[in-house]
């Protein structure tokens, strides 16, 4: 079990030109800014063409290459280093922006692209499931997001109504 293998494999795919830009999102992405989260998979967002109305990118050439490199598919995932990895397209403008502006981390000599904390928080607000709201609270309570940057994202992606509702529910602030 080695999540580092996922990052190493992504670096190889980039070197081979099979993927252009990518970024880690979801719980693994949040772990770069907060405490570690238990999660079932690794979400890798790719700048790939996605058919309208779908969020899953067509990763056929990528999957073929990963299979050649000894990684097997399991449903929507590819198993790399014991971790199920899901490759996703940007899906909406917010995720597209997060992908473009991702931060880079040096993890044991491998450059890893990860969504910025402010984008992870905004995506959590937009997605809005219970676990997303809990994660957004953690980002806010731990001061992991720059509020000016975060609010700029909310404005650009029309998330003010969701933000007002969130603040009302969790902080008792009037909209």
């Amino acid at each position: 079990m080695r999540i580092q293998s996922v990052f190493e494999e992504l670096a190889v795919l980039q070197q081979e030109g099979l993927i252009d830009s990518y970024a880690i999102g979801g719980a693994v992405g949040a772990t770069f800014y907060l405490e570690p989260f238990s999660t079932v998979d690794v979400d890798v967002f790719l700048d790939m063409q996605v058919q309208p109305g779908r969020i899953l990118a067509d990763p056929t050439p990528l999957l073929r290459r990963l299979a050649e490199r000894g990684h097997r598919c399991e449903g929507e995932h590819v198993l790399i280093g014991g971790w199920p990895v899901q490759f996703l397209g940007p899906g909406n403008p917010l995720v597209h922006e997060a992908l473009e502006q991702a931060a880079e981390f040096d993890v044991e000599g491998v450059l890893v692209r990860v969504f910025r904390a402010e984008h992870l928080a905004a995506i959590a607000l937009q997605t809005g499931r219970a676990k997303d709201k809990a994660r957004l609270l953690q980002f806010l309570e731990q001061g992991a997001v720059g509020m000016q940057i975060f609010e700029g994202i909310l404005d650009r992606h029309h998330l003010r109504p969701q933000w007002a509702q969130f603040k009302q529910v969790f902080f008792g602030e009037e909209a």
Partner: protein, 63 residues
């Protein structure tokens, strides 16, 4: 009771602060460990489920 609860909450916050202070490599190793544990739980569940099926089958007189 309140004091005990406050102590639990305080310990939890301390532990979370310590986890946040870890390096990224250390956090990622924790993710690996959590996934290993999760897989063990899944295997145990599967073993338990198959045992239950055996029991039901025997009760029904099918074996």
């Amino acid at each position: 009771m309140n004091n005990e609860w406050n102590k639990v909450e305080s310990d939890k916050l301390t532990m979370r602060a310590r986890l946040r202070a870890l390096t990224i490599s250390e956090k990622l190793r924790i993710l690996d460990a959590l996934r290993e544990r999760w897989l063990l739980i899944l295997k145990s569940r599967e073993r338990f489920a198959s045992t239950q099926e055996d029991t039901i089958d025997r009760t029904d007189g099918k074996r």
